[in-house]
Symmetry: C2
Subunit: 492 residues, 2 copies
């Protein structure tokens, strides 16, 4: 842990990448725009995945798996969706390499293996899934279909950044089919709430629940629900979306069902997803200039124990005292790393676990043991306390709860402090310039005004909050009437 982290103040973007580097979460791959998720980063993703998967199953969903490659004619069936993804997709055109006759040991694409129809590497799976649902749905008895898929997707992004925007990323995508519009809307709203509660209770990240403006909607959706979180630099990060797809895909793929009266109706749909982007959100919500800070509920390691000793004999004495504590902690599902690596100094280890965001770190030396105590350091506030060995297990158990809560409260305070109402465009521009954050402002509901604001300020409408009050007002730009404030912010 000798690598330096650029401070947030100095260069926020560089700080973000430095934190990823020192905490060993991921790195850029040899393939342009793609990343390698390293074991510690993947452990974090597994924690996220396990908890979300549990919540999906609890709400009645099952997992399944659909193909990676989508024939072009299926891809283009839903026009808006196709248009939305056509410019950024990886296209498979051939299926064989052959030896390069001019260059021994090298391979070239075999032109005779050209595909009759190109295949698109899925950027999202509505097309392939709805072409399949068509075969599964005849009657109202076949509905609802409540399916989720954990998968990789590819979107040919030009400007990429680890976790936040990569050409390939991991995600889950739920795809549901319903007999009624109401049921589909309820489903889309339910899944948004699943995401929101996960973000708040597990990631310790407060979010605004809202709906997207038409221009920010998912291509092919009638309504996009979103959770938006505020990062430490005041910018917004869209952290999860849930789409009410109306009958758009049912119509594109001609998926009808006979209702209880025998009448043929188009099926109603939703889709919803979160991705490895959540790891980016997690980093930017809590981390500091010393490295990653992880909420205990998602930390792969809860407690790191660093022994301070000279020689094998002292280490043995420490082990004898520490092993029962480790056993007691593990019994409480608290994961512990007892770092007895004697190639590294305690100071190096302290910095290492700090960089990796381990919530609690214990230091145990001989003098402490003689006094029957242990030094307990919490990552979030950097505070250290000396705790009696007899009560250290209970102390840590409570401390993990406190850290989880503290991180949430800290993030909520930041969000609250940087969220404000603005009533004029001048005021908005001035405040946005001074200090980014969330700005609640009236807007006339048109795409033109939205675009103008974006062009002039780089801020976009993040969402129209679901819990926003109805309020008579005037658009801050055009003065036209508005009944509800939207949130404007710069965004990732």
């Amino acid at each position: 842990m000798s690598e330096k982290i650029t401070s947030r103040k100095e260069d926020y973007s560089k700080w973000y990448l430095d934190v990823i580097k020192v905490s060993d979460l991921a790195e850029n791959a040899e393939v342009k725009g793609c990343m390698v998720i390293k074991p510690y980063g993947f452990a974090l993703w597994e924690k996220i995945k396990d908890e979300l998967d549990r919540r999906f199953k609890e709400t009645g969903h099952q997992n399944a798996y659909f193909p990676l490659l989508v024939p072009k004619k299926l891809f283009e069936a839903e026009e808006k969706n196709a248009e939305g993804f056509a410019k950024e997709c990886a296209i498979v055109t051939h299926h064989r390499l052959k030896n390069d006759p001019d260059n021994k040991g090298k391979l070239i694409v075999d032109p005779t293996s050209k595909l009759e129809e190109e295949l698109i590497v899925r950027p999202t799976s509505e097309a392939i899934i709805w072409s399949t649902y068509k075969k599964w749905i005849q009657s109202y008895r076949d509905l609802p279909i409540l399916i989720n898929q954990w998968a990789n997707v590819v979107r040919w992004e030009m400007r990429t950044r680890l976790f936040l925007r990569t050409a390939e990323f991991l995600w889950q995508e739920g795809h549901t089919a319903h007999a009624t519009k109401t049921e589909a809307i309820t489903e889309a709203e339910q899944m948004l709430e699943v995401y929101a509660q996960f973000a708040e209770n597990f990631m310790a990240m407060p979010v605004i629940r809202g709906i997207k403006s038409e221009s920010e909607r998912f291509a092919g959706a009638d309504e996009t629900y979103t959770i938006e979180a505020m990062m430490q630099d005041g910018k917004a990060l869209q952290s999860g979306t849930s789409h009410f797809l109306g009958q758009n895909f049912a119509k594109a793929f001609d998926v009808k069902f006979s209702d209880q009266t025998g009448k043929q109706e188009y099926v109603w749909a939703t889709s919803w997803g979160v991705s490895t982007r959540l790891i980016g959100a997690l980093i930017m919500s809590h981390s500091d200039d010393l490295g990653l800070v992880l909420p205990p509920k998602l930390a792969p390691i809860h407690v790191a124990i660093v022994p301070i000793y000279k020689g094998e004999d002292q280490l043995e004495i420490i082990k004898e005292k520490i092993n029962p504590i480790i056993a007691a902690l593990r019994k409480l599902d608290i994961s512990v790393k007892f770092d007895t690596d004697d190639q590294k100094r305690p100071g190096w280890k302290f910095a290492e676990y700090e960089a990796k965001g381990v919530p609690v770190r214990l230091a145990v030396g001989m003098r402490d043991l003689e006094q029957n105590q242990i030094e307990v350091a919490r990552r979030d506030t950097q505070e250290k306390q000396t705790i009696s060995i007899d009560s250290v297990v209970e102390h840590i158990q409570q401390l993990l709860i406190d850290i989880q809560e503290n991180l949430y409260q800290r993030a909520l305070k930041r969000q609250t402090e940087h969220t404000q109402k603005v009533d004029t465009y001048a005021e908005f521009k001035e405040k946005l310039e001074k200090e980014p954050g969330f700005f609640l402002a009236h807007w006339d509901g048109t795409a033109e005004t939205e675009e103008l604001i974006q062009q002039e300020t780089k801020a976009t409408i993040r969402c129209i909050p679901l819990d926003g009050e109805l309020e008579e007002g005037k658009c801050m730009v055009t003065g036209k009437p508005s009944t509800r404030r939207a949130i404007f912010a710069k965004a990732y």
Copy 2:
């Protein structure tokens, strides 16, 4: 469950596909050669995955994720590996679609989006992973690297069959790096044993542990270890492989480390994988003419309960009696489906759970309840017993253990009965013709003889068993000396 299953005797291949269909595991996708894994099939894969993942972590491995797309120049770096996969890979050549000027609403590949270097959709990840390990390994302190990845891979197969051979499939691939040859070989052997024990203890499928002949080796390996299982038709199914890769990939990607004396050495490697093919193995090991038969340790549903009643009142009485039983079973981690769907008749449900291979089925009618008893049917033997309600929980708990054991013993008996030593080529051909199975025969160790046998009989060398005795003998074809018997069989 009105669909008929072709009997094994009538048409074994069709039976296999029928079982998949009636048990709702998977279906062919709209994309040629690919499959959709349906929720029940995916639940099975999740059970397999969870248990293997636990065993990988127990043996010190961590999960990570590497890119789907492999630049051609990395792909071609290890020559044998490249050659082995070059003829069956999906190649990405473009990254954008555009509107077809001649055909409104249609899209065509935008020729201006041609990639400078083509990308291969990974058929396996040695190339991308070793180009990454190069950055991670400098010193012996960086070794070993013990990483596993759960991923999708694509191999352009012409003749595909659900689960057994599909263009895209799901798998895990372990990729490890070691300082010494011995350590790498030990790792490859350890992982083979992890697979073997999983196959035997969880899939109830006995396997032969062995090494592959040179011509059946993984492209790029110095040695391929395999587990081979015998299906009900006597054919072999390669169920998992573990490769000692020597220094081949380290040399291809120039991955060296400095050892404790400071000397630069090439790194030693292994890779090992199992795939959704295991589901095919599972089906063909145990299922029968009524449908799927699942070993309890992998069954998504252990117990299906079918109430037999007239009217809501009777159902209420049954529920009252059954609910405590369900609660008691679930406490024992036994998963229960209580099927109260009143749109379907009990007989239909019986056939449905039979087809889906649910290990235990209860039928509960009013008359049974009056006598304080329940009908318990086991799927493997079709036997039914009437059991007192007071002891039904303990009975089921034991029954699941018995079914697991019975399936294994049944498969083992079949394997033993259809494994025989043959000493002459004539005897081999005659017996193979009469009844397929495993044939232990002497072989002179040459690829020519191996090929001749394959051409004449369609049988291949499945492996040279690791527990095979040293024995002086003569090759059944050429008469040349041999010290060990190989297993010959027809294979999937």
